[in-house]
Each structure stands twice: as C-alpha cells, then as structure tokens.
Symmetry: C2
Subunit: 452 residues, 2 copies
Amino acid sequence: MKFIRITILETVNKVGQEVLLKGWVNARRNMGKIVFLDLRDFSGIAQVVGVPSQLDEVSVEQLKQVRPEWVVEIRGIVNERGEKQKNQNIPTGSVEVLAKEIKVLALAEPLPLDLEDEKIGLDVHLDYLPLTLRAPKWRAVFKIQGEIVEAFRSFLRSKGFTEFQCPKIVGASTEGGANVFAIDYFGNRAFLAQSPQFYKQIMVGVYERVFTVGNVYRAEEHATTRHLNEYTSLDLEMGMIQDHTDIMRLETEWLRYLISHLNKTAPEELKLWNFIEPVVPETVPSFKLKEVLQLIKERTGVDHTNEPDLEPNEERWIGDYVKEKFNSDFVFVTHYPTAKRPMYTYPDEADPDYTKSFDLLFRGIEVTTGGQRVNNYEQLVNNIKKWGLNPENFKFYLEAFQFGMPQEGGLAIGLERLTAKLLGIDNVKLATLFPRDLNRIDLQISPPEYKK
Amino acid sequence: MKFIRITILETVNKVGQEVLLKGWVNARRNMGKIVFLDLRDFSGIAQVVGVPSQLDEVSVEQLKQVRPEWVVEIRGIVNERGEKQKNQNIPTGSVEVLAKEIKVLALAEPLPLDLEDEKIGLDVHLDYLPLTLRAPKWRAVFKIQGEIVEAFRSFLRSKGFTEFQCPKIVGASTEGGANVFAIDYFGNRAFLAQSPQFYKQIMVGVYERVFTVGNVYRAEEHATTRHLNEYTSLDLEMGMIQDHTDIMRLETEWLRYLISHLNKTAPEELKLWNFIEPVVPETVPSFKLKEVLQLIKERTGVDHTNEPDLEPNEERWIGDYVKEKFNSDFVFVTHYPTAKRPMYTYPDEADPDYTKSFDLLFRGIEVTTGGQRVNNYEQLVNNIKKWGLNPENFKFYLEAFQFGMPQEGGLAIGLERLTAKLLGIDNVKLATLFPRDLNRIDLQISPPEYKK
C-alpha cells in the first residue's frame, strides 16, 4: 500500500491511522531501548517514537544512524500521548508517531555547533546561518517577520492603499549625503536608493494612497547593534491629509492591528520568545522634540535643549518616562528642526523652524520616521535650492508636484528594528535574515575591525 | 455644518445626501452652461456636475478655472443619473454629484500632453511618468500588477509557504556570467543579485517551503522590448518534491488561482485593457526542448534540433501550436541541455545531458524558469568545479547542502513580463513602473542609441 505524505500538523487529526511523514530530524534523544526523534517540516514538529522491535532490520539501522538535520521519511501510526506526556506548547503536543519504517532521504554532516546553544557568538551564528536559522527560535523570528510584513500589507489594502514595486537603482537625484553606494551603470554613475521616498510621493499623484516594501541601502560605516547597510523598509504615503497627525493616527491603528495579527498567526513563535505584548494606547503619547529635551533637562539636569535630535540614551529615557507615566510602550516625538530634516519635510506654519515630522520610538528606540511633506511645487523648488541641491537633478520627481499634488505625508518603518524590538533581541543583525555590514556579506569579507 | 470627506466609491450609497469629496480632476468637459468634472480619488471616479446657478460666486470662478490634474474639494448632492446616462462600466456609473461648493486644494500647470492620447511615443511617456501614470489605463496596469503579487503571496501562504526578505547585495559567489552590476562596498567589490536563487535554496533548509518577491538585476546591454536591467522576480522554492513536474503542477494551479483573483479584485481595470482571459488547462501541455525542435523541423523545415534553446520566433511558434492543438495559452518546455543551465540544475537520471528544468511560455513568450535542483552536497561541489567555478566562493551556500537538504526545486516568474503579456502590452517597459534600461534611469541618461 502506498501512502501519501501528510504534513506534521495533520497528525493531530489522524489518531489511530498509519501515515507517511517527511522532514528534518530536529532533535534525537536516545533513551536506551527507545529513540525519540523530533521531526520538523514546514507545518510543525512531531514526536516520533522509534522502538527497534516495531521496525524492520533496515529501519533499525537507520534509527541508529540518523542525526540532527538528516532528512527522513517516516511511516508510522499516530497515537495519542499519555496525559502526562502531553505538551500544551505545541499544536501536535497531544500525539506522537510510532515509527514502522524509517528511510533516509538526505544526510547531514555532523553539526559543527549545537543548535540549542544560546551562547554561540554572533560571528559564529552568522557564519553558519544556513544551519543556525533552522533552530526553532530563529525560525520563529523570521516567521514573525514575514507576518509583520503581511500585517502591514493587509491593513493598508483594507484602507484602499495600492502596492507598488519600487526601483532601487537611482540616478543623481538622491536625498543627498555621502552615505550612498555607487554603481557603475554602463559607464554612468548610479546609486542604490536610500529609500523609496521620491517614488512613493510620485505615486500619491497616481493612486492617492500607496505602499511599498523593499530593500533600502545606507553606506554608513557604523558598526553598532542598531545599524545595517541593507535593510527592509515598510513605506506608506497618502494624500488629502490635514497634517502629520493623520499619519501618526494611522500608524497607531496599524500597531494595534499588528499585535492582534501576530497573536493570531504566530502564537507559538511568540511564545518561544516569551513575547510581552506591547501596550499601544488608543492615543499614543506625543511630544515635541523641544518638550522632550526640556523634560530631560528638568528631570536629569542635562541641558540638550539646543540639540537637533535625541541621543540613544535620551530615546531610552523618554521611552521609560512614557512607560511609567502613561503605560505606553510607544511615544511619538514630533517637530524636529527644519534645518536638520530633508528638503521635502513640511515646516510648521506656526513655527517654521520646526517641521510637521515625527519619529516613533518603541521601548526607547526609533522604529519609524514620518511626517507631512512639502506639496507645493514652488516651495519645493525653493527648498531644493536652499538645501544646496540642484533642481535640475530633481526634474522627474518635481513633475509630480507640477501637475497637482494635495497635502500629503507618510512614514517608513525599519522592519528588522521593529522585529528585534518586538521580540527583545538586542542586536538588529540577529533580526535580519542575511545581514550586510561593514565586514560581512554572508561570510566575513575582511577581518572584523569592530567587536560588539 | 462640517462634512467629513467620503470616498468616491461611497457616493453610490448616498443618493439624496450632501457629501464632501476630494480628488484630482481627471477630465473636464465644458458643455456651455454646465461643466462636467470627472473626479478621481483612490477609490474610483465620480461625475461631478457644475451648474453656475447652483454655486456661490467663488465656486463659479473655480469651476471656470479648474483644469485636469488640479486637486479639488467638492461639496455636493448625490443624485441618481437618468436611465440613459447610467454607465455600467464603472462602479459609480449610477450616480452623479451636483456641486454646491468647489474649493481648489492644489493647482496643476497646463499639461504638456493629452493623457487620453494613446499615440504618445515611448520616450515621452517615460519622461513624464509622474503624470502619464495617472491616466486610468496606466493606473489599471499597476493596480493589476499589485494584485498579481498579492495573488502569488496569498496562494503560497495557503499552501504553507513562508515569505522571506532577500538581500540584493551579494559577494563573489554569483551565478557567474558577466551581466552583473558591481558596487564599491567599503573598498571591496560586491554585486547586485541576479536572482534570490541561493538564498531561497538555503531557506528550504529552514522552512521547506518559501517565497520571496523582490528586485533583481541584469547588467545586459540589450535594448529590446523584452529586457529590463532591474525587474521584479516572484520566487518560490520547496523541498520534498519528486521532480520538476511537482513545481509545474503548482504553477498551473497558481495560474488558475491568479485569473480568478484578478477577476475578483480588478474587474474594471481588466476591462480597460479588453482583457482576454487566458486558457489554463488543468494539465498544461508540456514538451521536451528536443521534441519542440523536432516538431518545428517537421512542420517548418527549419532544423535547429541541435540548438540548446528556443529563439523568440520558435517560442511564438510553439505558443501558436499549443493554442491551436490544445486550446492552451501556456506551454511548458522541459529538459534543457545540462551544459547550458546553471550548475545547480538537476540532470535527468535517464538522460543526464538534459535537465529536469522547465520554462513556461505564455502566448509565445517565456515568463517562468524553474526546475529541480541538485540537492546532494558532493554532486553540487563537483558541478561547481565542472562549471569552472571555485567552491570556496560558494562556501556559505554549500552549508545548506552539507547539513541536510531533500530533493527540492522552484521557479522564478518575471512580474513585468507576466503583466505585459496578460494585458497584451507589447513592450515590457510599459508594464514596469519606473523602468531602468541602457539609456534611462527615470530620465534619459545619455542620447538614445537604440530606438524601437
């Protein structure tokens, strides 16, 4: 009789039946007479019980030899576990599979490290990503990351936003700054986009409400636990807003949606990280930058009231402050100085030295930048000049504003930072699937000059 | 009384009520006493009726001045249209809005071209994309493109696939070939990925079933209607397959799903392009490359039976053949020569000079490449050497195969080509939001050396 493979998750509905499973050996526990295998496939993990007396000769031999990460096919009977053996933490925790036949589909070399070992150094972890990512905790991180992206899209689609694909090769008209990667483009110089900013603004003219998810690039020579040279940006932009607070309200609504989406789609994965659900009040506390700096001066004595931005320890301070005072894990900081923000940032009419821009801090770290943009063509051209840039280089971008652009704004969320912060992961590189940094593209490209 | 803006689509449920709309003037028709405005927002297009006697003085002046692409706010009464005036082709075709007040939110300069003109040259169209994309036909193309991507994801998610974000900056270990863009990466040489191939294979070891959507790069100096230097690739990869036909069956199922998804989510957009629903038989016809070339020899007398691939006119020939003979708009061509495919392509055990690979042709043009991959570590290392490459450069990739990899395979779909072919668009650049080619990054970067 030929069996059709079923998924591991399906075993819970097959008690008493003979089934065929395929998967990776996630763990092997030799209890003397009995060998337990944790078998992993795309749907979950099952406990397989190997008892030599129940197996043919070839299978007994296989049972002896199989090791973690071997790929095997198991024919066996699904049995309900004894009450004491039931595991509430996994969906297949009520059953186990008594093996009848074991076939090896692919071998694995002896593992160079223990996948359960949580003290593996960062460099070793990254050097062996094709292997280390297979550990349930890391599989959980990137499953959750995929669901964050899905939540971003499904929420915005329900609000009438249109998704678009954004190019990453851009010409001279970058946002400026030295932190761009240059490409040789058929003898011309081109660059890797630092953000989809100009394109999403152009697309507001086309669809009014748009979003795009994609890679962005920063050629920063930083080697910190917060910076990446290539990361994923969740970008949205919308027209017909009153001001930046419309965008802030939209993001607040999304955050609440996100948490509910994750609880629904990745509950076990969250459990593996002892997920502490962030508190998102219906109105997230919001302070002007000046107010934050004033508070810090009053409470700590440090006078940075003339600074144009918050330092990392100040971000943490205001994060702690709103947590204690408002029981919020999030805080908006608004009104950054006009001179320190990009030329498209909208100045507050009431106080033009400051902008209708915001950062969102999550547990003391910035995860979003957003705001209202300059939508008036003349004002934008003037700003480009004021910022020391050449309007000729922005000709394509400017067309969007020449031909009718309402008040508009948007935001960009750093996917990996948000993932890290949600799960309490210290180093953003660990929440980045294949991180690129100063010293590493997959493997190290030069001796590490910096160690955490 | 203050009105809250409603979307244009909502007007159909507001007959007799006073509403506030915001949008772009899509078209303006002056009928003497009456001026009709087609108003466009993210939800649709509404007909606004401007009658001077119904308006205050300021609004009368605005009604005179407004021109296409101006952004306006309209307060008005929703009326049911007369039976003869009803338009079945748009969702708001049963109503119109009698304007009570018109406010201009943003001006547009006089348009340099007529957005309805279908004879605009390719270069003019591309030079003015921020404007030309606003025409309903082009809005339809990229709305449909977004829905193709959504259909790819939702179908695969329902099959247990996990989405991942793939890096585009890669090291020396490219698939080979001269057609890569080089980047200066902190004094090292890096490249833009030609595909997520290696990463999706690595991820099979992690999740068994994975997909990723993202930009890929080809530094080809082609200037044809089929080639792009940056495009969007829909990639999937899955383990535990028998052979390449599992992937072909999955794609066939997706194509059927896709068509139903588009009919549901973008019916009006499809209508604008006179969409002819492609025929996807439950089993799409499949031929080995040799068989196709033999057929062509028999039917046309042209003997290319020793060629390693199909020429464009041969792709069209087999497309016409299966349409006529099997009433299928799709055909799989399998078993391309081993020597001409990448080193990871799985050779057919029965005839090792040919591979378990396939292309999918849609109405005579290739839209997918896929197949089974070499999953055995030693075989893969040998192939890398045989292909004249250095296994040291593939160390990271090879880890996935050292530590347990089942039989696996996948495919890559060119999003823009598929979009173009679905809608009958001749030039793939017109189905690419912001196309990059030899001479153009947004605007032309050098005098065009090639004209279509």
